[in-house]
Amino acid sequence: MKHTRNFCIVAHIDHGKSTLADRLLEITHTVAPRDMSAQLLDSMELERERGITIKLTPTRMKYTYRGEEYILNLIDTPGHVDFTYEVSRSLKACEGAILIVDATQGVEAQTLSNAYLALDNGLTVIPVINKVDLPAANVEQVRADIEQVIGISAGLAPAISAKTGLNVEQVLEQIIELLPAPTGDLDAPLKALLFDCYYNNFLGAVCLIRIFDGVVKVGDRIKMLATGKEFEVTEVGVFTPKQTPIERLTAGEVGYLCASIKTVNEIKIGDTITEAARPCAALPGYKEVLPVVFTGIYPVAGDKYGELKDALDKLKLNDASLEFTKETSTALGFGFRVGFLGLLHMEIITERLEREFNLDIITTAPSVNYIVHKTDGSVVNVANPSNLPKAVDIEYFEEPIVNLKMWTPPEYIGPLMDLATEKRGVFVDMQHIDERRTALNFRIPLNEIVYDFFDRLKSCSRGYASLDYEPAGYARAKLVKLDILLNGKICDALSIIVHEDAAYKKGKALAEKLKEVIPRQMFEVPIQAAIGGKVIARETVKALRKDVLAKCYGGDITRKMKLLEKQKEGKKKMRMLGTVEVPSEAFVEILKI
């Protein structure tokens, strides 16, 4: 055990976590150079494309230091604010964390929050200054920053370039020298933390675990403390970074186990795994994460409902924060109301549904959970605008409020104040953290920040500002339901709940956007925005004037047919709402208003 180190890498998004992980794998010869590809641990297609890490990936490396061989378990973590819960999960499995700070950008919001997260979890934090090869690097300033802003000593922080490999060996040395070895009792009953999980079609659920006490091997009878389910272990192993079966995992180690776990309900991320015959006391587990943003997700083709359900079940398996319930829409048929942690989370899930499960889906406008007080004195919770009682039956609304904290360099305070005020935010106070950083505190309705707030914040601060928020109860608000009519019929999937004062502007913007995204059809399509039967905006999609293949001779009919087939494929992405064909992107586009 004294030759094992468990650590994770935390950083602000884009400060070089995955690149450093690549170098560590190379230096420790975990991956042969010929198998090396950039950002190796970001195996998900989506992760590579966006250059971000979404899922945790544990890897076992071997490194010889002063003649002794060490086992280093690295857990890669995501950097974006929406995925903070994933970071906190991996922290529970480690004794130490490497905190990367970009030498050109210094300490950023997520640097700070991840560093505190690690310190709060009792981890030893090793600061590392990355990207020192860039001309704009200012190592000494960043060193001072780390000490002043975060409050940890940075005098010894290696100044590295994860890209070129410069000084990366120093990081490995510090991991061994400075991080504590895990402790644990080999003879005690098994006590393992289930910190993540993914689904494999052949093995069932693959559980990512950190063992605190005891041993686990194939054939052991294990018990999940929270769900109470028992299983027989069919495989244990480590990631090198390929999934590699080994004989046993012992206290202090990180690895995986499989136990023919077929359904989602049988396990819970954060649970404690123990021996069925000799259970241990439960580990503290995780803070439950509550979804704050809800949208309807529907298959474009109605007969894919079953496939959508299976896909959501599988995603749920390694995304504890994903919640969904069945829902029906007149316009879209059967689907689900899905709860997310934020807009990026929502985008990631919808993209994964489309790519990994090859599903064509429609996402409706995001909503939050409203409390509706009716005139008859009863109270209902509404997260889906189409479930809203009739306007005449509503006494008043209460909407969720959050305490919003925005960190920003002082020059962007003005624009951010304007933004938050425009979004109905109420200024609370302002804290000067240092000369480069100010925190603005607002109370703001949650539904104002679920649409485009994050994008607006980034664009009015040239990317420097960041935000965090926490629920702060409910407050009474003047809200109305805004309906969209296509060809004279209300399309429930396009209805949204908005503040009375913004309704007119929003209705007009929605109608204009829909006019842009709905393609011309055989007939003219009127688009109307209405509040309680009163039309407030109208646009028209003109009828198609021409859509015909020019010539059809020379006998090459197959080619013409292929062109028509292509059009037909495009049409499959369309959804019939009454007599109007609406592309599924339309639903995405209107979210951006």
Partner: protein, 325 residues
Amino acid sequence: MKPLAVYLHLPFCERRCGYCDFLSCCNLTQMDAYLARITAEIRAFDFSPYIVQSIYLGGGTPSLLSPDQIKHLFACLPKCDGEITIEVNPNSLSAAKCDAYRTVGINRISIGVQSFDDATLRNLGRLHDVKQAVAAINLASEYFTNVSIDLIKDIPEHPLVTPPADALTLVKHISIYSLTRDDQCVLETDEPVHLPRVFHRYEVSNYARTGYESRHNLTYWTGGEYVGFGAGAHSLIDNHRFHNSDDILHYRRIDDGVRDATTVRQEQIMLGLRLRTGVALSCLTGKENVIATLQSHGLVHVKGDRVIATTKGLKILNQLWLQLV
């Protein structure tokens, strides 16, 4: 004996036109080698089960062939009592060639006029002017009754110019194609076509005096059998599709397989909608409600057992097809 249409592709051109998507080749030195190959290909084909109803020499610019080359080519073609067409360019037509065409049995001439406006012709990169085009129509008419012309419409900033009356009296058939690229068939411009009523629109892009509809093209459009010789040419025989590859001197026959019932039906609907005779209702079983909706919007009408696109419907044929398959 089964009826058969025969197509010969002669890809050679003096200059490539940007709007043309047929296979063409500007290296005229390859012409003799190509003719040797295509005649060998024709000789190898077994015409015995067929009665050849039409022959069509398309291109490219078939009028680049000399009178001797034309005679040589026809020497290996089977006998045909029906329509025999050659496509010609106004600037490469001559009396000697017309004479040779008539000698080998050609009875229909299709002139690539493209426009009756000099600026438009320059814009299209054509090598002739309006004067030459009118002269070609006059010359062709001295040898042939059945003269057809090709025109292009919907050219940005170049409105369609209707043929001058004296030329029009000599013409029996007019094809008017919209300038589109296949990948952007949805274009906003759709110029109206104004022709004397004697020209009826028997296909979306084709107008003819009664009795002068193109027999050969109708074979394609009504699902008849045809064989294509030469690079890039297509064939449909016994419900089986073939095509030759694009390699000018070394083209090979590629088997595209037998059409399944769905494909046959989809093609029938696509081609039928383009024709004045329409699609048989029997091809559209189960689509009665769609037909009724389209009818109520004035996009199709039903005549006897045929569903026929209206003038309004002809503009958005792709949409009609998408609804009806």
